[in-house]
Each structure stands twice: as structure tokens, then as C-alpha cells.
């Protein structure tokens, strides 16, 4: 074997090794996944990698493909094309080993059982479940152990679904619109429990169409629309992506062309003696303005994630 061939082998081998390790580092890996229902592409050539420990929001309007995506990740649906990997293997294997658990949007609470019976049963299917008392405490179900499942309120039922997902102490948890049926207070309580779970280094993927939830609770926001990812980043990055932060400053001189050349600025609008600068990086734009001495009545108006969302998807959420 020639020296060049050997080098090539070493290069290819190390690259393969690196890709293998990268694969196992990603808890979730979707590659060019497509799922059709009839003529509709519910998920359309979607690729997404999620490393361990992230809390990711799947944000999109109704019918964007969020639930389909989650069902693909759970192996409840098979992709028409592309690959779905969870912990480097098939979703079913991840569920079987107890590393992947999920909270469906609705259903799953079987009648004629009590909270304690149902939770005890699901917990018993895992090899290393969390202690039942701990799960009950995290989900706020201590008082309800003897209650029949069909007599739970909407918020209580949702907490039980969450407890069922937590029972096996999974490394990755998928939540399909977890707070859709909850009032404001129940929602806040739910996210407190969720945060405690994520703080233990767990990976969380939740779908939502509540923009403030994605903004507040996710490390990373994946905006999805018509089965495709239209934006992916921190909520700050997504706002920046559509350059919706506006810097307003009073400029006395009539010529304003120089403003358009400032770093980060994407458009300038003059209203009277006020210049409205749209910027993708407000910090550097403000610094540049300061260097130019133009700081009179300067204000920075951050974009709401909602504005970004509308700009990205064209849908009013």
C-alpha cells in the first residue's frame, strides 16, 4: 500500500469515526424526512439535529407539521423518505430502552383507572423508573392518587400525562403542545416542573404555537411552516434574522444616506427628524451611531418574536 493510499485510509477512517461520534452526540437526528398524507406534505424534506441537553421549541401555526414531526420521532408514523434517528438508532429502540418518552397532546388516559394505578403501571414498565413519590411531587399529583382518571380536570389530566412521560426518567422527552389546554397559572406551574427536569441535563423538545413559551423556555427555537424549517436559532437570533429590531434616533442634518452604511442596518426610514433604522444587530449599530455622535433621543425597540414569526411564516398566530 502506497503512502498516499495509507494517508487516504487514515483520513477516511478518522472522518467516519468523527461522524459516528457526532451522530451519537445528537440525541435527535432527522435527515431529509418527508411524510405525505395524500397530496399534502405534512413534513417536507426536513432535517434537524438536536444535541444532548438542549431545550428546543418547535414553533409553528396549526397544521405546520409539528405533531407529525413528533409522531415520526416516536416511531408512531413511518417516514416516506429520509431517516429518523433517536440516540443514533430507531425511535422504537429508544422507547424500549426507556431513554425516550413523550407526552401526547391528548388522550392516553384510559378510563376506569385511578391516577395512582395508571402511574404505577407505566412506571413499572421501565427498568429504572423515578420513585413514584418524586414523580407525583414534580407533577403536583400527590393529592390525586386515588382519583379516577375520568374525573380529572383538564389541567390535572395534563399533569398526569406529564407524570407518565417523566415516570421512566427519560433522557429525551417530547411534548406535543403540552400547555394547549391549560390556563395561565397551570401553564406557569407546568413550565416550572419542566425547567426542573431540563436542569438535570435532559433534552426537551416541545411543540407550541405560543410564541412567548418558545421565547421564554427554549434554548433554541425551530420555526416550522408547511412541513419545512423556516428558521432555526435562539429566539434572539430569529428576531435578528428577520432584522426587526429598530433603532430610532434624531438626526438633524438633511442628508441621511450615511445611515444606510452603518453596520447591521438593513433599511432606513425617515419620519420628520427621526430616523428609524431596521437592524439585524442593534448593538453594533448603536455603537456606530455613538462613534458618529448621533445619539440624540436614541431608543432601541426590540422585535417581538411574534413579529418574527409572522414575517417568517406569513401567518398571524
Amino acid at each position: 500500500m502506497s503512502r498516499a493510499a495509507l494517508d487516504r485510509w487514515i483520513y477516511l477512517g478518522s472522518r467516519a469515526l468523527r461522524s459516528v461520534f457526532r451522530m451519537t452526540n445528537d440525541v435527535v437526528s432527522l435527515k431529509n424526512v418527508t411524510k405525505r398524507f395524500g397530496a399534502v406534505r405534512a413534513v417536507d424534506d426536513l432535517s434537524l439535529d438536536i444535541p444532548a441537553g438542549q431545550t428546543v421549541a418547535l414553533l409553528g401555526p396549526n397544521g405546520a407539521g409539528k405533531s407529525t414531526g413528533i409522531r415520526l420521532l416516536l416511531g408512531l408514523l413511518a417516514a416516506d423518505s429520509g431517516t429518523v434517528r433517536v440516540f443514533g438508532g430507531a425511535p422504537e429502540a429508544a422507547i424500549r430502552s426507556g431513554r425516550l418518552a413523550a407526552m401526547p397532546q391528548e388522550g392516553g388516559l384510559v378510563s376506569r383507572t385511578t391516577v395512582g394505578e395508571l402511574l404505577g403501571f407505566v412506571s413499572g414498565t421501565y427498568r429504572a423508573p423515578l420513585p413514584l413519590r418524586e414523580v407525583m411531587a414534580v407533577a403536583g399529583l400527590e393529592e390525586l392518587a386515588g382519583r379516577r382518571v375520568e374525573r380529572l380536570s383538564g389541567g390535572q389530566a395534563q399533569r398526569l400525562r406529564f407524570a407518565l412521560a417523566l415516570a421512566g426518567d427519560p433522557e429525551l422527552i417530547l411534548l406535543d403542545e403540552p400547555t394547549a389546554a391549560l390556563d395561565v397559572r397551570a401553564r406557569r406551574e407546568f413550565w416550572e416542573s419542566m425547567r426542573a427536569f431540563a436542569a438535570r441535563g435532559r433534552t426537551v423538545l416541545f411543540s407550541t404555537h405560543y410564541l412567548e413559551e418558545a421565547d421564554e423556555y427554549a434554548d433554541r427555537v425551530v420555526v416550522i411552516d408547511r412541513g419545512r424549517i423556516v428558521a432555526d436559532g435562539t429566539s434572539r437570533e430569529i428576531k435578528r434574522l428577520v432584522s426587526l429590531t429598530t433603532v430610532r434616533v434624531t438626526v438633524p442634518a438633511p442628508e441621511t444616506a450615511w445611515l444606510e452604511l452603518l453596520p447591521g442596518v438593513t433599511s432606513v426610514e425617515i419620519r420628520g427628524d427621526r430616523a428609524h433604522l431596521r437592524t439585524r444587530d442593534a448593538d453594533t449599530t448603536v455603537l456606530a451611531l455613538a462613534e458618529a455622535g448621533a445619539v440624540r433621543d436614541l431608543e432601541v425597540v426590540p422585535a417581538a418574536l411574534e413579529d418574527a414569526f409572522i414575517a417568517l411564516t406569513g401567518v398571524d398566530a
Binding site: 408512531l76 422507547i95 418518552a101 392516553g108 388516559l109 376506569r112 414498565t125 421501565y126 427498568r127 407518565l164
Partner: protein, 241 residues
């Protein structure tokens, strides 16, 4: 899987439909049929004959009720919830079938105890043991048919089919009126039904005869057919879940 069976048993206990159809009805019907308008020598014969019939009827009803509960479970998202636990699909089916094998017991025990305690039926220990064992093991085809219906049809349809199949099998199989009183064409038909074969095996023991291999073969054939139907229904339900 044992945990799953335990949960399903707890659910069955709280199901009024099951308690009525799977225990109360067969016991009450047994006592009615054997004590109203049956006198003298006929009473002893009826007490034994109808005992097997009603135990079989109750067991079949319970087996169906268990299986068709699957349809309700599917609508409620329970089967999907089970799929996101570490339980393997085959464990879920086995658990449900295992539950089916348990829920038939109250009907069998209730009717046999009524016969012994209230109707003065006296049999040798081995006869009691064989009858209970045959009625118990022989209920498996019906459990599987119940599962097939539950997987294949939605809640309302499954419930109707459950009752229809239960009544047709009970009547044509000679569980309500003995096949001996049927017109010859109906009797010929009855002998091919799983319910007739099921009851006949235990009835032969009750009257001190040897169960026929032909009857056992017929029941085995139904076991295979219903098993395949259940498998087909499960596969289909899995694709649609």
C-alpha cells in the same frame, strides 16, 4: 406484562357491562332456566346440561367484552400511550389475551358454584376439575375473536358486533336451547360452530362420556382462524395508529 394484566383486571372490575354480562346474567339465567317449568327427573339433567351451557355463555360474553374493549382503548389513545412505553407490542397483545383468560373465570366459577350449592349437582372432583379446565382453556378462541373485532372496528361498531356475535354463537351453538331440540338442518349447522364445540367438550365430561376428537378439532380450527383474524386486525390497527 403482569402489571398490564393487573391494570386491566382493575378496569374490568369497574366495568358494569362486564359485571352484568360476565357474571350476573349467566348465573341468574342458569337459576331461572333450571328452576322454572322443569320438574322431576328432568331437573337433574337440566341442572347439569344448562350449567355447562350458561358457564360457556358467560365465558364467551366476558371474552368478547374484553376484546372489544380494545376498540374503546384505541379511540381513547390508550394503545398509542402503550406504544410509547417500553412494553413490546406482542406483550400488549399477550397481556390483553391473558386478561381475557382471567375475566372468563367468574362466569365459570359462578355458574358451577350455583349448580353445586343451589341445584344439588354432584360430580367427582376430577369431573369438576376437567369441566372448569376445559371451559377455561376453550375460551381462548373467543378471546381472540374479541381482539380481532376490537382491533378491526371502532367503538360503537365493535360493541354491536360483540353482542351480535355473542347472541348468534349462543343461540346457534345450543347454549340457550339445547341443540337436541333444533330442526335437523339447524342442528347440522350448530355442530360446526365454535360455541357448540366449546360447550360439548365440557358437557361430555359432565355426563361421564369421552369428549370427541372431531369436536376438539373443530374448536382448534376456530382457534387458528380467530388467531389469524386477531393478528390481521392488530397489524392493520398498527398501521393506522
Amino acid at each position: 406484562m403482569l402489571g398490564y394484566i393487573r391494570l386491566e383486571i382493575a378496569r374490568a372490575r369497574r366495568d358494569p357491562g362486564y359485571v352484568i354480562m360476565g357474571f350476573t346474567m349467566p348465573v341468574v339465567m342458569y337459576l331461572l332456566f333450571t328452576n322454572l317449568g322443569v320438574a322431576g327427573d328432568d331437573h337433574g339433567w337440566a341442572a347439569l346440561h344448562v350449567m355447562v351451557s350458561m358457564a360457556a355463555f358467560g365465558a364467551i360474553g366476558s371474552a368478547f367484552n374484553n376484546g372489544t374493549g380494545i376498540a374503546e382503548d384505541r379511540t381513547a389513545g390508550w394503545l398509542r400511550q402503550l406504544r410509547i412505553t417500553p412494553l413490546a407490542p406482542v406483550q400488549v397483545i399477550a397481556g390483553k389475551a391473558g386478561t381475557g383468560m382471567l375475566v372468563v373465570l367468574p362466569a365459570i366459577a359462578g355458574v358451577c358454584l350455583s349448580a353445586a350449592l343451589l341445584n344439588g349437582v354432584r360430580l367427582a372432583i376430577w369431573q369438576w376439575a376437567s369441566i372448569v379446565l376445559l371451559l377455561w382453556a376453550g375460551s381462548l378462541p373467543f378471546t381472540l375473536l374479541g381482539l380481532a373485532i376490537g382491533y378491526r372496528f371502532s367503538g360503537q361498531t365493535a360493541a354491536v358486533l360483540n353482542i351480535a356475535a355473542n347472541l348468534v354463537l349462543a343461540i346457534v351453538g345450543g347454549l340457550w336451547l339445547p341443540a337436541e331440540v333444533f330442526p335437523s338442518w339447524l342442528k347440522a349447522l350448530a355442530e360446526w360452530t365454535p360455541s357448540f364445540a366449546y360447550a360439548d367438550l365440557a358437557r361430555k365430561i359432565a355426563f361421564g362420556q369421552t369428549p370427541g376428537t372431531g369436536v376438539a378439532l373443530i374448536l382448534t380450527c376456530w382457534l387458528v382462524v380467530f388467531g389469524l383474524l386477531a393478528l390481521y386486525g392488530y397489524r392493520r390497527a398498527g398501521r393506522l395508529a
